[in-house]
Amino acid sequence: MNSGIEIETVTVTPLTDDEREELADSLKRCTEETRQAAFKFRETGKLSLLPPIILGIIERFLEPEIRPKLKEGDGSLKLIDDLGIDSLTMMEIVVLVEESLDLSIDNEELRDLRTLHDVNVFLDAKIRNVPVPEKNKHFGVESVLATIPHNVPFLFLNEVSLGKNEAIGTYTISGLEEFMKGHFPENPVFPASIMLEALGQLAVFQLIMTQKSETGQSVDPKKILFTGCETVRCQRVCVPGETLTMTIKPRSLRHPIAKFEGKITVGGETAAWAEDISLTFDWIADSED
C-alpha cells in the first residue's frame, strides 16, 4: 500500500463480555459518548473514533472549571500550561487510553507531547502502526539566549517549540518590564509594538535554527535585520500574568530575505496577527585570515 493513502480502519480484537464490563468500569467517569466511541472502536477499528475517545479521556481527568477550555480550544492547547495536566495525570491518561484502544505506549514516546495536537498526531500514528511524525523540538530560555542576539531587558521569548514548518514560542508578561511603568501608569498593558517585536524574535530564532547556505554556512545572528511587516492586527489587550503563545510560519526563505506570518494567542484567544514579517539575513562569513 502506498503510504500516501489514508487508512481508515485498523484490525481490532473484539472485547469479551468481561473486558467490556471492565472497560465500562474504567471509563465510568467519562461521558456516555466517550464510552460508546470506545466500544465502537473496539468493534470496528474506525480511526475516525480516535479524537472523541482521546478528548473524552483527557476531559475526564480535568478539573471541572478547566473542561470548557478543551471544548473551545484547538490543537495548540498545551497540556501542562493550559489544561493543568501534570506528569502523573499524563500517566493516568495514558493508562486509560492504552486500555481503551488496546495499545502500549513507552514512556520515552511521551516525553515531547506538549499540545493536544501532539497527542492526536502521536496516537493516530501509533494505532496505524506507522512511524510517529517527527515531533517539535523544545528549547528553553538558555537555548534561546545562546541563539538569538537579543538579551534582557529586550528579550520577549521564554521558550520555543520548533517544528518542521512552524515555531511556537511563549512569553509570560511579568509586569516588571521597565516600559510597563509608562504603558500605562496604574494600567499596565503590553504594547502592541512589543508583540510584533516578540514575533520578530521568534522568527529570528527559527531562521537561525533552520537555515543553511548551499555551502553549509549558518545564519549570522549579527546580520539579521527587521525590515518590515505588511498587515498587523491586535484584537485583545494583554496584561501582566498572561502568557503570549506565538506561532510563526515561514512564507518564503530565500537568501537574503525571509518572510513569515505570525499569530499570538492568550489562553486560546487570538490577541494579534501579522502578515509578511520580513527579515534580511546573511551567512556567517568564511573565516578570514
Binding site: R29, F61, E63, L88, E92, V95, E99
Partner: protein, 420 residues
C-alpha cells in the same frame, strides 16, 4: 533543652470527628462499636468493628468517597490516597485549625512530621490483583504511593508542604507512640520547633479479618459489651481505624504565638520484650522497662502519676501482661487511676497511641478522666490496681499513656498539665 507542649489536636475516630464529640462520648462512656456492614458475610467470623462515622471510603475509587464537606479535596490530591490517608489528612487539617497555625507556620524548615500507619493492605492487595489480571503497565501509576506503609507521610508532606523532618514509624500498635516520642525528641533537642504527629489506619474487611486467625479479635456480635479490657470475660479486641493528629511546639514557639496549650510532654521511654513475634512477655517485661525509663526521663516517681491510659486491648494475654507490668511499677496500693479507652474506641492499631495521648490531653482541657467501660467482673490479677469504671470529673497533673506492638515493642509517654 526545650520544653515541649501540645498545642493542637485533630480527631477522625470511631468516637467522634471533633474534640467535643470525643470528650462527650468518653465522659458518658459511649462507644463507637457496631455490627460493621462489610463483615456481615458468612465467611467472616468477626462481626464487629469501630469504624469512623460520616465517611464512606469503601470504594476502591477515591472519587466515589463521601466525607464531611469541609474537607473537600481535588481529584489530584485524592488520587494518591487510600482510606486512612483521608482520615489522616482531615485530622491534620482539623489540628492546624485547632492550633491556629497559618500556612507559613506549617511549611518551613523548623516544622516536621512523624507519621504512623501500616499502609493499606486493602489497596495494596487490590492493585496487585489488577496488575496480575491486566498487566503491569495497565495499573494506576499511583498504586504504590497510595498503599504502602509510608503513604501517610508521602501524602501529608506533599499536601501540607512540610519542609522539616519527616518519616514514618512501623512498630504495629506502638507506632504512633514511637512517632510521638521521637517528635518530642526533635523539639526537646532543638532540632525542630514544631512537629505534627499523625497516626492513621484503614478500617475495612482487609484491615480487620486477617487478625481473626491469630485469635486476637473478639468474635462477639454484641457491640455494647465486646470490647472489655480488664474484664474476666475479655475475648479479643475490636478493630478500629481513623486518623489523629497532635501538634507539638517548643516553649519558644508557644510564647511567640501566644498559643494555648493542652499539656506538656515531659518524658518517654521505650523498651522491647525480646520474647515473641506476636505475644507479649508474660510479665510485661518490655512495658515495665518502658514505664520506668519514661519516669526517669520525666524525673518523677511512679507515685506522681495520677492517671494511666493503658494499652489493654481486651485480649486475654495482652491485658494480663500489662496488669502485671503495672503492678510491678506502681505497686498495689495507691497507684494511679487506670483505664483502657479501647473499650469505647476499639483498637486502632498504629493509630491507638496517638489517639490515647490525645485523650489524655482532653482529660486536661475538659477536667475529665475517662473510665474503663464494660467491666462486669474485674480480672482477678488486676486486684490492687485502681481501675476506674466511670469517668471522673477532675484534672490530673501527671498522666501516662502506654502502647505495645507486635514483636514486643513498648512505649510509655508522660504528660503534665499546664496552668493556663
Amino acid at each position: 533543652m526545650s520544653r515541649v507542649f501540645v498545642t493542637g489536636l485533630g480527631f477522625i475516630s470511631s468516637i467522634g470527628n471533633d474534640e467535643d464529640s470525643v470528650v462527650d462520648n468518653l465522659r458518658h462512656l459511649r462507644h463507637g462499636i457496631e455490627l460493621f456492614e462489610p463483615l456481615q458475610v458468612p465467611e467472616s467470623p468477626v462481626k464487629l468493628a469501630a469504624p469512623v462515622k460520616d465517611f464512606d471510603v469503601e470504594s476502591f475509587d477515591p472519587e466515589d468517597w463521601t466525607y464531611p464537606a469541609q474537607y473537600r479535596l481535588r481529584r489530584e490530591v485524592l488520587r494518591s490516597f487510600s482510606p486512612h490517608v483521608l482520615y489522616a489528612y482531615c485530622s491534620m487539617k482539623q489540628a492546624i485549625d485547632n492550633a491556629g497555625l497559618d500556612e507559613h507556620e506549617v511549611s518551613n524548615l523548623d516544622t516536621g512530621i512523624y507519621t504512623a500507619s501500616a499502609g493499606s493492605s486493602r489497596f495494596l492487595h487490590r492493585s496487585l490483583e489488577k496488575m496480575y489480571k491486566r498487566g503491569i503497565m495497565r495499573c494506576n501509576p499511583l498504586n504504590i504511593v497510595s498503599s504502602v506503609a509510608g503513604t501517610v507521610s508521602f501524602n501529608l508532606v506533599s499536601n501540607f508542604q512540610i519542609q522539616g523532618v519527616s518519616t514514618g514509624f512501623a512498630s504495629a500498635c506502638a507506632s504512633s507512640g514511637h512517632a510521638l516520642g521521637f517528635a518530642f525528641e526533635e523539639i526537646r533537642r532543638g532540632k525542630q520547633k514544631r512537629m505534627f504527629v499523625v497516626g492513621a489506619e484503614d478500617c475495612n474487611f482487609d484491615s480487620i479479618v486477617p487478625f481473626a486467625v491469630m485469635r486476637a479479635l473478639s468474635l462477639s456480635d454484641h457491640p455494647d459489651s465486646a470490647a472489655r479490657p480488664f474484664d474476666k470475660k475479655r475475648s479479643g479486641f475490636v478493630s478500629s481505624g481513623g486518623g489523629v493528629t497532635m501538634i507539638l511546639e517548643s516553649e519558644e514557639e508557644v510564647a511567640r504565638r501566644g498559643a494555648s496549650v493542652y499539656g506538656e510532654i515531659v518524658g518517654w521511654g521505650q523498651a522491647s520484650d525480646g520474647y515473641n513475634v506476636a505475644i507479649s512477655h508474660p510479665d510485661g517485661r518490655g512495658l515495665q522497662n518502658a514505664m520506668r525509663l519514661a519516669l526517669k526521663d520525666a524525673r518523677i516517681t511512679a507515685s506522681d502519676i495520677q492517671y494511666l491510659n493503658a494499652h489493654a486491648p481486651s485480649t486475654p494475654i495482652g491485658d494480663l501482661s500489662e496488669v502485671i507490668a503495672m503492678k510491678e511499677v506502681f505497686g498495689t496500693d495507691k497507684g494511679p487511676m487506670i483505664s483502657s479507652t479501647k473499650a469505647l474506641s476499639g483498637h486502632g492499631l498504629s493509630l491507638s497511641s496517638i489517639l490515647e495521648s490525645g485523650i489524655c490531653m482532653l482529660a486536661y482541657k475538659h477536667g475529665m478522666v475517662p473510665g474503663s467501660a464494660n467491666i462486669d467482673e474485674l480480672m482477678d490479677e488486676a486486684g490492687g490496681l485502681n481501675i476506674i469504671r466511670e469517668s471522673i470529673e477532675m484534672k490530673p497533673e501527671y498522666v501516662m499513656s502506654n502502647s505495645s506492638g507486635f514483636g514486643g515493642a513498648n512505649t510509655s509517654l508522660i504528660f503534665r498539665s499546664c496552668q493556663n
